[in-house]
Symmetry: C2
């Protein structure tokens, strides 16, 4: 899944070049490329499918030249994850009715790749021998308030439990309780299932969405698919797979995993997961000279740009060439408001 | 005089485009152009001569297309004001032995143009009828510690006094005493004299410099002048006209003037002389959106750039495209050190 616009990282992430298409960690590979590299370890390249917004099709093709055109599914509109995943599942089922699949965001950080691979192989083994919807639950390492949690029920096989409940993001008190209990895991948004299992679950939980795709099952993977999507996809309700399916289906399981995961959903998360210099400043893609400045995160699109900072502590400094943002890390939730203000005053120009 | 590099305003002012060549006040005219416009009110255009460094000759010609090539004197090296003024004086004397001249920096702000014109006309009248070196002393309006002061002696004609002493920049206590006394005026660096009077003073106070030009008096204004300057100018000692002549000559006078003058020598001076918005932020050449931010000065080369600032008070934010500086206004004297540090780590690239 590669269609997000990364607005929480504005202006470093922009609608014309969202987060997943940026070399966010300065490794030489974008987050999308890193996600591709990771799954390539256990999925044949011709079986990797990227679902993105049509405006990003060229970016995907440029960043992943290994993909053939049929491996890029272009959404004509943003409709959250349920329609995205439904399309992918029906598309895959048409190619191979026996297929199992992993659904993964393309903009997350995973640091321990071999553990990730081992977890996914174990997960595939489970969903291929059970009618199960499997989600990956990350063993929490801190009372994080930025993630949803999954409470586990009975263990059905080593490392895999029945899901008891999905929870909203907790406050810090509750997050501490979750952490101490050992029963709560972070909801990673990574799913495994057989294509026919998620289709069956969609028919039960989101019948309108399933009907749309059932009516077109025979044209999936044919030249007629594009026209069908152009006509019907924008009419699908924008609902997340969590809300639409996972919280309603009764065959939902969670694999408890630990592979150094972060959704890189916030500047603070990026800061925490980046190498810091001795003054605890994090500099992405730029030459920085600091004086009496600590705890800042600097993200500069122009890798040649020199940034000199004096007397600044715990700020986000993000420069996208035509936009500069200077904002306390503690105020990053304000970025959403800022983006709205910028839209009000300047339209889409700077978004 | 138009050869400075404006390093105190780095990075907004750069060696390839110093302060005087920038539309510093957002008026649509650069400081050089504003200086030209001002003297054009009482000096015939063919009598205006710009002395600059040879690296800026093309910039001068571009910004002042009215000037003929013979009106731009190009210094092959930076040698402070005494050699610059000596060259101009000998050059002018060769064109017209009777000429009087005004010497003015090209990067100052003057807000009350008619008062400036009237002051200069009165000054010309004085120097044309007296063997006098006249400097303009600005009536101080605050205990400024950033300027040198001139103490006046007896008044010799209305508005013009003998100079008693030139002083260094005072501390704030002394500046308050100066202001209260009524005897001290800001040293503007604007001078009026007959060309033959400054040449006579140069012979008395800076005989080496005068000898260099006396030996070439016959080729001034001829095609041989350029080769002479290329050979001899770099060998002149780099000395200011204040130290070399004004503090030593005995025919030095000061005209007491008030025409809304500021040398724009510091970010703080620029801040004080710029229109502020309701949060007391000053934005030069940029779209700015501020949240909880006051007292900042923002100077952005790219006039289309959007700058969003949250939680910043009393800072300089200067963006030159390839360099971004964020620095407390109170630390602006550190910019000199910063420039040195940047030179140490990156050479001339960002200067």
């Amino acid at each position: 899944m590669c269609g997000g616009i990364g607005s929480r990282f504005w202006p470093y992430s922009r609608t014309d070049l969202p987060k997943q298409f940026i070399d966010f960690l300065g490794t030489g590979r974008t987050l999308l490329q890193m996600s591709y590299d990771r799954v390539l370890e256990f999925i044949r390249p011709e079986n990797i499918i990227v679902v993105t917004n049509e405006r990003y099709a060229a970016l995907v093709a440029e960043q992943l030249p290994e993909l053939g055109p049929a491996q890029i599914l272009c959404e004509p509109a943003r409709r959250n994850t349920a329609p995205c995943i439904a399309w992918a599942a029906y598309h895959i089922a048409a190619l191979d009715p026996e297929a199992s699949m992993v659904v993964t965001p393309s903009d997350h950080l995973i640091t321990r790749e071999q553990l990730f691979i081992n977890s996914l192989l174990a997960g595939f083994e489970f969903v291929e021998s059970n009618d199960a919807l499997l989600t990956l639950g990350i063993t929490p390492t801190r009372p994080e308030t930025g993630y949803g949690y999954i409470q586990v029920g009975e263990e059905v096989t080593p490392g895999i439990n029945k899901v008891k409940t999905f929870t909203e993001k907790p406050d810090v008190e509750l997050a501490r309780v979750f952490l101490a209990s050992g029963e709560f895991f972070w909801n990673s948004g990574i799913f495994l299932w057989r294509a026919d299992a998620i289709i069956k679950a969609l028919r039960a939980t989101m019948p309108d969405l399933a009907r749309t795709f059932d009516n077109a099952a025979s044209i999936m993977g044919t030249p007629a698919e594009e026209a069908f999507i152009a006509e019907k996809f924008p009419a699908c309700a924008a609902i997340s797979i969590d809300f639409g399916v996972m919280e309603k289906a009764d065959n939902v399981y969670v694999e408890r995993v630990s592979f150094g995961w972060n959704d890189l959903g916030t500047w603070s998360a990026l800061y925490e997961n980046s190498p810091r210099n001795r003054d605890a400043n994090v500099a992405h893609n730029c030459n920085v000279i600091t004086y009496n400045s600590t705890g800042n995160i600097l993200a500069i699109r122009d890798t040649e740009k020199l940034v000199v900072v004096d007397g600044i502590h715990d700020y986000i400094i993000a420069d996208a060439g035509d936009v500069l943002l200077i904002c306390p890390k503690a105020n990053e939730q304000r970025i959403k408001q800022i983006v709205n203000d910028v839209r009000s005053s300047h339209g889409e120009k700077y978004l």
